[in-house]
Every structure is written in C-alpha cells, then in structure tokens.
Symmetry: C2
Subunit: 440 residues, 2 copies
C-alpha cells in the first residue's frame, strides 16, 4: 500500500453525493483494486447544508478554485457544471498546479476540451471525463483506450435520457409530445425549461466529445447540425411503427469523403435493431471501427449512482498510475475538424405531408420529387378519408389527409429542395415533416 490518493470534490449535487456514497460504501474494494486508499480530503459546494452523506474529515472550502490548487489534494474532481465561471476557472487552476482532474462537465469539455487537454499535457496530469457522456456507460475509455487500434467510421447513440423517455412514452403509451414532456418533468427527468434536452443541445455537447475521441479531431461543438424532438407527433410515431421503425433522437458522427458529419436529430431506426430496444432513460452508444466492427454499449445515461460509477472509474485510473491522452492522441496531434456538407448526406427519408384534398395534388407532389430525382420506395395514406387524395369527387374545402412517404436513397439537398417546393406550391396544409432513416 502506498500513500492515499487525496481527492478534492467540488460540487455536492446529485453526482457529488453519489460519489461520496460510493467512496464510503465501496472503500475497501477501491483500496484493493488500486492498492491505495482513496481519501476524500476536501470538499467545496455552494452551501454547507446537510446533504445526508458522510463527509468524514474532509476539509471544507468555500472557494473551489482555492481547493483546486491546495497542497492537500492530488485530484480535483469537478462536479459543478457549466462551461464558464468557477468550474472552468477551477479546472484550469488545478491543471496548472499539476493536479489530476476528473470532471463530469460535458459543456466545459465541448467548449474548451482541446485547450484543457493541452493544459493537462503541459503539467503531465490526467484529464478524465468518463461521466461527461452517457452516464455509467464506459464509452470514453472504450474510444480512448480499447479501440485505439481501429479507424473509426461512425459513432452514434442515444445520449439524452429525457428525450428517449419522452419518445418511449409517446410510442408505448400513445402520449402526445406535450403529455410525455409533462410526465418527464413530474418525474424529474426534464427541467422546467426543457429546451436544452429536447432541443438536442445536450446530445450535441456529448456528441462533440465522442467525435473528437473517435476521429482524433479538435472538439467542434459549433459545427453541427442540430434538430430536437419537438416536431415529432403521435402520427409520426405510429407511422414509424407501421413501417417497422422506431424514432430515436440520435447523435451521429460519421466519417465521409468530404469530412465529418456531426448531426443530432430524430431518426428512424429498424425496430429489430438493438438500439430500437433501448427504452426509457437508458442511453446507448454504437461504434463502428474497421477492425472491431460494430460495438454497442447500453446502460444508465444519468442518475446519481451510475454517474458516480464513471467518476470513480476515472479516479481508479489515476490511483493506478495510468494515463492516456484526454482525446486518445496528444492534444497537439488532434487534427482540425473538417465539416462535411450535410447537403451531401446520403440516405433514405421518411416524409409526412398533410395534403389538401384537391384534384392533382398528389401528382404535383410526385412531380416535385421527380424533378430532384427523389424516388419513392413507398407511399401510405394514413387515415383514408371519404375519397382518395387528389381524386376525390367532391373534396371538402380545406380538408387534408396525412400522407407518409419513404424515399429511396437520395441526398439531403434533393429532399430538402423538393419539400420546400412542395410547401411553396400550397398543396400541403403545413410544413412537411422529414425524418432521416438511419442505416444501422
């Protein structure tokens, strides 16, 4: 047994308290695994209120930045959150002072990951962040260590439990988006302002980190196509089901000839794929490498205990003396991020149109598709009205019918152009819905 590894934990919220519980409950096992006692030497939080966890003899710091550089700690564990302010200041201070840093802060890494990695290399310390992406799933270590012998072709996943909970509720219990969101809020899965989750921004932060690890590029959270799940209707969920798909909010990073595609959007995935079975707040990440083939990791994407498990994993690595570059290769070797044009994205698409019951409407729509060489694999009129679309003898003025189409493979540019033209033509009553079909 060598000297204890002394932790300074900043932030005693859900994850912080989960970590303290883990350190207490599994102390012996941690010491056995690392051959070294792990000591909670110092803590810092906004208030000194009782959180129901045993802080032992930990020294209290009101100022996290002071704790970060204190000689009494070896590892600074940042569980404050946010991409600026005290979290950023303290992490930088710790790295500069030669303290290892463990953080669960996805926003900080998505914004400043490359710079922080450089800083950690200057002082030869670890910058570990297993808990920043997909909660308890060990995806950071998998990309940073296990798959380093592979050229990664694609990484994608369900990275936001809130969205997956909402989509699961909509699918399994026929809830509307609004109802499912309310339920998620009642259960504490969604914030009062849910934009960050349902708008896809949380997924984007996590995806940016995975992209860097997978492709060895600098973190580029701003160079991403982001769509949320707000526009998904019960209609879409049911149509997907009819067509043997499920709708999931995916974060996808894909290596193409013209660069890297980073995109967050609802996607149709085959019902019999493993990722389609990932329901509720569970997360999943799939990785496609040239040697390993397809790998899928699934587990708890959030929560006090699962996230604490990942924070502990980072601490164990430090206690054992191992160190891997933050993003898999030394920060100086991270390549500039080259964004692929999404317009060139190739794939099949699901399209839902509310078509006015007017003679010739469908023919006009088909024409717009044809002009851009978008061919259709199938077309389904969801709720048969009294007469067929476009050939109704006496269409009721203003009435419309949902029509669902699946295209053959085409480009994003072509389908977008066609839908824009269709909307301008006035043959549909509202903006067309378009969901990418993800080939798995």
């Amino acid at each position: 047994m060598t000297s204890p590894l002394r932790l300074g934990v900043a932030g005693l919220g859900t994850v912080g308290c989960g970590l303290v519980r883990l350190l207490r409950q599994n102390a012996e096992q941690l010491a056995d695994s690392t051959n070294r006692p792990i000591e909670l030497a110092a803590v810092s939080a906004r208030s000194r209120k009782d959180r129901g966890v045993d802080l032992g003899n930990a020294v209290w710091f009101d100022d996290a930045v002071k704790m970060a550089v204190d000689p009494g700690i070896d590892v600074f564990v940042e569980l404050i959150g946010g991409d600026a302010g005290v979290a950023k200041e303290a992490v930088e201070a710790a790295l500069r002072a030669g303290k290892h840093v463990v953080t669960a802060n996805k926003a900080l890494l998505a914004r400043h990951g490359t710079d922080l990695a450089k800083l950690s290399e200057k002082t030869n310390v670890s910058l570990n962040f297993e808990a920043a992406v997909a909660g308890g799933i060990p995806v950071i270590k998998t990309l940073r260590e296990s798959l380093c012998g592979n050229q990664i072709r694609r990484v994608y996943g369900i990275l936001n439990g809130t969205c997956n909970f909402i989509l699961t509720r909509m699918q399994q219990d026929k809830r509307s988006f609004a109802e499912a969101l309310k339920e998620a809020q009642a259960l504490g899965y969604a914030e009062a302002d849910p934009t960050f989750d349902v708008g896809g921004f949380d997924t984007a932060h996590k995806l940016a980190i995975l992209t860097s690890l997978a492709f060895g590029t600098r973190v580029a959270v701003d160079q991403m196509h982001i769509e949320g799940i707000e526009s998904i209707t019960q209609e879409d969920i049911e149509s997907a089901d009819d067509l043997d798909y499920r709708i999931k909010l995916l974060g996808v990073a894909l290596l193409t000839e013209s660069g890297i595609e980073q995109r967050v959007h609802p996607a149709m995935v085959p019902k019999d794929s493993a990722i389609a079975e990932v329901s509720g707040v569970t997360n999943a990440v799939a990785i496609d490498g040239d040697f390993v083939g397809n790998l899928l990791l699934a587990g708890a994407g959030a929560g006090s205990h699962a996230t604490a498990s990942s924070v502990a994993s980072d601490i164990i690595d430090i206690a054992r003396g191992g160190r891997a570059p933050a993003f898999g290769v030394p920060a100086g070797k991270l390549k500039p991020y080259k964004r692929a044009k999404l317009g060139q994205h190739q794939g099949a698409y699901y399209v839902r149109l509310n078509v006015f019951d007017r003679p010739g409407a469908l023919a006009k729509i088909a024409g717009r598709m044809g002009e851009r060489e978008v061919s259709l694999e199938s077309i389904v009129q969801r709720r048969p009205p009294d007469a067929q679309v476009g050939i109704a003898a006496k269409p009721k003025p203003g009435s419309d019918t949902p029509v669902v189409m699946i295209t053959h493979e085409t480009t994003e540019q072509a389908i977008r152009g066609a839908l824009e033209a269709i909307y301008k033509d006035g043959t549909v009553s509202e903006k067309p819905q378009m969901i990418r079909i993800e080939e798995l």
Copy 2:
C-alpha cells in the same frame, strides 16, 4: 516519441494474421495514440508458409519459448491456444523473464489464471487478455478498470457465437438443431467436432474469467454447472416464441447469500430484452453493479479482425505504460471461490413434457409438482390432438402430446425432484425438457 515497443507474436493463425494486418494498416494511428512506434520484432509459428501478411523484418523463431525470453522483445503476444504445452510454457517463461504478456488464450486463463497473475506481479509486468472473452467487446477492461468502484451482483452473457448462430437459425428459419449445426460447420463457425462449443465448454472458460474479474475470486472453471444446447428442439424454440421468450445459451455468474452461482445453460430471455435481439455470431455481456446498474456490451464475439482489435487494445495499454492487476485486484487478494448450491437456485422454469395420452396422466403430473410445492403459471398443450390429454375417450396406444408448462418461482431442487418423479411414473414418453427462465 520514445523507443519502439517491440512485440514477439507467437501463433500466426486467424487472430495472429489479423493482428499483423492491424499493425500494418493502422500503424500511424497506433503510434499517435501511444506516442511510441509499435514494432513487430519477432514472430513464431508452426510453419513458415506464406500467410499473405507482411511480416516485415520480424525475426523468425521456430521455438516460441525461446522468443518469449529473447532480449529483442518487450511484449510476448501469445496466440497459440491451449491450456498446456508450448502456450503455457512460453507465457510462463515470458512472465518470469519480465516481459509483458498479451494473450487471447481463454483455456489457459481459465485453468491457470490465478497462478499466471501471481507470476506477472512478481516481475511487475502486465498480463492482458481482452481477446480471451467475447472477441472485440472490451469486457475485460470494463470489469478490470471501469467498474472497479462497483460491487458486481451479476454478470451474464452470450459468449459463444457458434451456439448463438445455431439458436438464431433454429428460431428465424425453423431449422432443426442438426441442420443449423451443419450450416454452422459449412460456414466455418463450428468445428468438425462441435462438442466444445455446443456443449457449453467454451462459454464456461470465458465465464470463469469474467467471474474472477467481477467478484475478485480465484478462477474456478471446474466449479460450474454446464449444459449445452444439444437438447433444444424446434418445439422448444416455437414454444418460447409463443410465450414471448427467446432461447439463448447464457453463461451466468451470480452473487448469492450462499456463494457464487456459475452456470452455463440454455435460458429463456424475454423477447423484448436487449439480449434477445443479439442474433447470429454476435456476443453480448451484461453486468449488474450496485452503482452502475445494468450495463450491456454487444459486438463481434470472434473473427480475425475483431479479436485483433482487442489484442491491439492490450498492447496499447502496455505502450502507454498503464498497468492494472490481471483480475482487477492483486492476485494475493483474490478470494477463494465459494460455490453456491445450484439446488438452491431460485427461479421460474419452462418445462416441456411428452405426455402419454392416458386417463389421469396430467393429474398425476400436477400431483408430482404439487408435492414439491411447484406451482404453475401457465400450461399449454402445444399440438391439440383429437382429444384432450388425459381425458381422451379412446387414446391411441402409445401416442403422446407435448405439454409446455411455465412454473412460478421455485428452487432448482424442487423442479428437478418433480421432473424425476414424473419420469419415473412413466406418464411421459421421454426425459422432460427443462429450461431456466432468466430474469433480466
């Protein structure tokens, strides 16, 4: 860049050649990730025939044991296989000589893992074996490193691609066991003598390794209940489907109050579980820890390239200078394995009986179940004959009818006792089929 890491690779079969290809194809990336060139310094194999891979300037050794201790190598990569003979001798020689060892040899580890771990600690070298279990899936690192902050409650998985291929074929294409096995042999998934795979012994080797990692116990491959898939019929596959289950060959290690259950057997898993979707030669491992909750890893369980990816992962760890104890804790701290009595295993069971069409047969069977307090959740007569079982007016002499039962939770002892009594009573035409229902 520091000095190159010099590999000596023993065994140039499927995995060995896959590794050489990986080292060539992704050399630059490997060097970037590890900040150190990885060099194929020496090779050894049974013959010098051309294998279509570029061995470069590697020094050839006819004797793997000589290579293992040669001053020209830093890491001995053992891809020979077998739990005795040259593989064992060479690995031991390498460890004694202070060379790191990377091996894909599950049999060797299942038999001698604890001793080899001790040996590696004496000379302070790594004993890495990511490729020994579940091919490309990083399950060894996950248990040895990522989940060390957890007390593991259960680890289970589909660890043999051959069996999963056969069961998948039986289910999806209504093949008999014999037909599916033949197909697996034709495709190279099964050996001419398939016993090692279909009898569950390969799964047992892998499970023994996972058990040690999960529970910190000495490797105990001989203390295990093993059943293969040879007795699974198309009848069972279809009944499972009717009851919303799939049949999978699982390796299960479970912590119970009386010790650890290690068992390999066909199991019924709910059709909508992620593991039920794992089809063909894919493997999957599920881990249940007190903090992480349920984690599932799925991917290619075998094959030249996927396995090479795991071997490379072990090499990368060594090149980066990291070292974790072979089984998660120092070998001296591995606890003795305490076997739980399988008779006390609690669970629900699927039972299929071929019941003679005789008056009172079913009543007698129900009586035997009742004597041991085995209660039934459901009972299904699979192919309705002319009349109902046991109450047929004129049963054809000697004819029988398959009857499928699902029990409520009971003990292994109780159900085994009941089935033995039923068989002795002569109310059934063949030995009862019993499949454990695995709660996931």
